[in-house]
């Protein structure tokens, strides 16, 4: 070791170390960027009002500071909101053009049903049908009015529920008529007439309730609040359309924290708004979870059985080699090829046949012959089965041979050995395979895009309507949500925070699952350390 470090090749060691560093830094950067951009969005940022040198004003959240292209001048990006008044959400203002910048306590931010956020000052309230204490200060009156409106709205919602029950009933009768008409034959005409008779009162009820709900909603919408922007332009809005009202400059840190939690809860539990760029992710989360669960239902048994075959039953030979290579190839086939296979085989092949056999009356409208959660999950199952096989096989291989021999020598059959000994011992491995496959499935998007994922599903694949599981329905998915909102939405810049949050959520789920799998595997490795593997 008397040679110089350069001769020893230590600098090359450093080079390889740098490669590893780049790899790790890239990972950390990716996770960091997603966290920084995703976590901060819900925190209510202060509202700045800028008076400009030319006499104009701008009000909003300060989102970015940047050098302008000419020289070293600062410019500031405001999220000015009020899309219905200004047309654009963001505005760049040169720092030099700003005369004063202040943060008034009564600056209000409104989240609305449409047109994005509004930033302004409360001007007045016009309450037509709800009563609130007139003695309260205006902002508190607004809050009280919102509560009152919300209460009435819930009543309308329950009315809407019976409307939708009616509409389901109508759809059921319509399909029954369609079926009778298709089958034809004696008595079909009578049956149809009877069903038509049944349909009439339901339709009348539907119309009446629908009209009532609409009338009550219109009445409720006549309660309005008027806000003025920084320049004094006023906008009258129905109180019902205000999703959230807050004055960030007047909020304390605990209040902001509470607000933050409220937003997170909304994210997890509410439906999306504004073509998915605001509101919650509940249908996408639900769709992802249900997809993954259905997928596991198909892939875990098949994968475990195949692994058992390879490890415990098959004699080493050409067949086993072929199976191994096939499994390995399945893992390497591009996911889009699985997608196109799913489309050709499951959707058009199996689905089309099911439609012809069981739902011929609905054709040419497809029932199963179009993308749906069942086909997407089957496609994903095929895609993740190699993961389960490989991991389970490794777990079985790690079990010392003595255990098998002991069991067989005591007179147990092979299956008994498998069932009572090997599988329980390999259970952590099987669970690892399960977790890894769910992680892979949760993050996979390309095959779903052609087998049934949609940007906005009208109904969840699981609900209170018979038969509860609607495997033919299309569904939403977190990964697709990222692609769709980030790339297909009309206002990408305004949608970006939502995409980051969705990304954060998906990343948390997938990485969380992977970490669980890694921990499980490591604990298992320790158990039989030094044996096989």
């Amino acid at each position: 070791m008397g040679r110089k470090p350069i001769q020893r090749g230590e600098q090359l060691v450093w080079l390889t170390g740098a490669a590893l560093t780049v790899t790790l830094l890239a990972t950390v950067t990716l996770i960091g960027v997603v966290m920084v951009n995703g976590l901060g969005y819900f925190w209510p940022s202060t509202l700045a009002v800028a008076r400009l040198v030319d006499g104009g004003t701008a009000m909003g959240e300060i989102t970015q500071r940047d050098y302008t292209d000419e020289g070293d001048l600062w410019r500031i990006q405001f999220k000015v909101g009020n899309r219905d008044l200004y047309g654009a959400d963001f505005r760049w203002i040169d720092a030099a053009a700003i005369e004063t910048l202040n943060y008034p306590e009564d600056a209000a931010a409104l989240e609305r049903e449409e047109y994005g956020n509004f930033y302004g000052f409360l001007e007045r309230l016009d309450l037509a049908t709800v009563q609130v204490d007139a003695g309260l200060p205006p902002w508190e009156r607004l809050q009280a009015a919102r509560d009152a409106v919300e209460e009435r709205f819930e009543a309308i919602e329950s009315l809407n529920e019976s409307v939708s029950a009616d509409s389901h009933e109508m759809e059921r009768i319509r399909l029954a008529i369609l079926e009778l008409r298709y089958e034809g034959g004696a008595g079909a005409e009578d049956g149809i007439a009877r069903l038509e008779e049944q349909l009439a009162p339901v339709r009348a009820d539907f119309d009446a309730r629908n009209a009532e709900a609409a009338a009550r909603l219109a009445e409720l919408r006549s309660n309005t609040a008027t806000f003025a922007d920084a320049a004094g332009r006023t906008k009258e809005m129905p109180i019902l359309s205000l999703v959230r009202t807050y004055r960030p400059n007047a909020m304390s840190v605990p209040a902001k924290a509470l607000f933050y939690l409220g937003k997170v809860w909304e994210l997890l539990s509410a439906n999306p708004r504004e073509s998915n760029t605001e509101g919650g992710l509940f249908p996408a989360i639900f769709g992802t979870v249900m997809l993954v669960m259905l997928m596991s239902l198909f892939c875990i048994p098949l994968g475990v059985v195949a692994a058992v075959y390879l490890q415990e039953y098959a004699r080493e030979g050409l067949l086993v080699r072929m199976v191994r290579i096939a499994v390995f190839n399945l893992a390497g086939v591009p996911s889009i090829v699985y997608g196109i296979f799913g489309l050709g085989f499951f959707v058009y092949g199996v689905g089309g046949t099911i439609d012809e056999l069981f739902f011929p009356e609905r054709l040419p409208n497809p029932t199963f012959g179009t993308g749906g959660i069942l086909w997407a999950s089957l496609t994903l199952a095929l895609l993740t089965v190699p993961v389960v096989i490989v991991v389970t096989e490794e777990a079985l291989a790690a079990i010392p041979g003595g255990i098998r021999e002991a069991s067989l020598s005591l007179g147990a059959t092979r299956f008994q050995t498998l069932w009572r000994l090997l599988l329980p011992i390999a259970a952590p491995g099987i669970i690892t395979g399960f977790v890894l496959s769910t992680a892979r499935a949760a993050g996979e998007v390309a095959p779903l895009m052609i087998t049934g994922v949609v940007k906005l599903a009208p109904a969840l694949p699981l609900d209170g309507e018979f038969p509860f599981f609607h495997l033919d329905r299309k569904f939403m998915h977190l990964g697709f949500h990222i692609y769709d909102v980030g790339f297909q939405s009309p206002n990408v810049e305004a949608a970006k925070p939502m995409v980051f949050i969705t990304t954060l959520l998906l990343l948390a789920i997938v990485i969380g699952l992977s970490i669980v799998a890694i921990v499980l595997r490591n604990s298992m490795q320790k158990r039989y350390a030094g044996k096989a593997f």
Partner: protein, 740 residues
Amino acid sequence: MQARSATRAKRIDRIATWTITASGLVIVGSVVGILLLIVNVALPLLFPPDSVRVQRFSPAWLGDPGAVLAIGSDGYLETGYVLDTGGVFTFFDSRCGALLERVRLERPGVAGATVAGVEVSGRLDHSLRWSDGSLTVERVRFFPQFDPEGQRHIAHAVERLTVLPPAEGAVRGTARVTEAGGTAAVFLLPGNRLRVVQQIVEEDLFGELTRESASYEIEDELPGAAGPLLLDGSGRWLFAGTDAGYLLRWALTEEGPRLADRVRASHEGSAVTALAMLIGDGSVVVGLEDGSLSVWFPVPAEPGSFVRVLKSIHTLAPHPAAVRRIVASQADRILLTVGEEAELRMHYPTGERHLLTLSPEAPLLRAGLSLRANGVIGLDAEGRITVWAIDAPHPEFSWKAMFSRIWYEGFEQPGFVWQSSAATDDAEPKLSLIPLVFGTLKATFYALLFAAPVALFAAIYTSSLMDPRLRLIVKPTVEVMGAVPTVVIGFLAALWFAPLIEDKIIAIFLFLLLAPVVLIAFFVLWERVRGWPPLNRVKPGYEFLLVMPAVLLTVVLSVAIGGVLQDVIFGGDFRQWLFQSFGTQVDQRNSIVIAFALGFAVIPIIFTISEDALIRVPGHLRAASLALGATRWQTAWRVVLPSASPGVFAAVMIGFGRAVGETMIVLMATGNTPIIDGSIFNGMRTLSANIAVEIPEAPAGGTLFRVLFLTAVLLFSATFLVNTAAEVVRERMRKKFGRI
């Protein structure tokens, strides 16, 4: 009792054995099944088009077959018609031959005039030349109608579009009603002269229609006796063929006719016998006396020139004898050519594909193509009408169209183009797979250029040089990296990374230059200070913790110096400078972004597999090498790496397979333009992204749908080969080290 339970156990055991073995086979089956299914969907592309004679009848209502001038059919092969010299359109049910209706045309001039000649253009516009010299254009129309029971039947009508009085002394002539509603007619006068009669309809700014009439004689001398004459759908171009084998083209401008082209269609001087325009009026099809067929369209006289000249672009399968008539489908680009002895051929010009040849037993007097090019109807001398159904669902497909350079209509030169759909029906589908294959390989190449060295070096370091305790943290971290969904990588690459590096491209190149310098500087510094406490407690194997600040410093330095360089050398904007100096456009979503993003997705795979292979190298090899006095780098580089090289090779192959098939990242971060350009500053479209982009728009069973499945077969086979090779190599290596 015990015996029973034992038999039961045995039975269960047998069942389990079967089930388990069966499911093992299911796995093999499903791999084969996937391949078979996608091949099966793509396969119909290769089936040769088929023709079936569906009907033959000798209708009693048909008089002299020789008097029939034209025959045709609707797009459903339900209603046919014949036009005879008496000026009567007879519509009949082409499923049974029953007479439906006779429509007698009003004679335009002299009473008792008969029809002397007919030419069909556009969607069944018949230009009739009457015996008194006047011309009329009659349009036959078919419209499907649905009665209350949902039954479809085809209604028909004949509409007279225009009447032109005889031109003095005209030998023959043809007329066409233009898309704007005007007319154009050309008459052949005695002495081989041509006269053009035009009625131009123009719409001014206020939507007022002005009609202008013009009539002039063409002064240019024709090279040979005039043969077929052809007007295009706009009425602005006149084509003529001569018996000396020349093809002429005039622009019928407001100032008069201008001879635009005078080219030899036949070098042997064989006469031009038939002319027709392809759908969209962009190309003219020329048939010759010697049976040869070619497709011509105007192209720049020389590269970059604005002057367009006619050029023979496609040569179609020739007839054995003279070409008599050419019928261009108005539904797609299919051509029906009628040769001497009534041999019928169908062609698809783009890929120069000869679809099929129909050989009727008796020579046909007249033949016509159905409106949707799905059938051919013909009349023979014995008065028999024959209907063939043509099954050519994928005429656009041919290996030539997929993989060769093709000169597409309206293009300046031949090229590889993927453009599967367009705004208009008459557009030429361009289905070259070359740009997609090129894009795939380009993305993979740049990604591996970044990922393979990084992943391999990292794997060498982790397996052989790093402290084993750190390895327990590093490996899971890389596995987490591998778990990051590709949609997340793609999103960040496109919407965060691409805009971020847009004006810092120099910094990236600087990083590559600076990294070794900074690293060496740090290394030298470290060698000087490592002896001092407390630094002397840092053991070998922890270097990469020291490398981290060096890498970070390099990043900061590159960005800072890059900014300065950009201002000083490149005038403040590197992209502009590059464009002005080299004409290279820098796209925001370029190959640099792809290299990093796709590389990010591939690194964990290459890392994990090669690290596995490296760590599998038996410890006694290392120990022996170190004991003989080799340094740890020499041991890693000259002993461990060569022993594990098959596994490392397999790792790169698998990384390659993954990069080739990756979809979401390239879909989001490449811009998806199917161009052939190896530049690192622009994007590409890959096979996988192409499937994702186009399959939702492709009607099931159509050519595009099947071509996309064909690309899936390509992807599958490419990854299958690579993966199988890698797995075989890996298996060998496992065995090899199993024996040691």
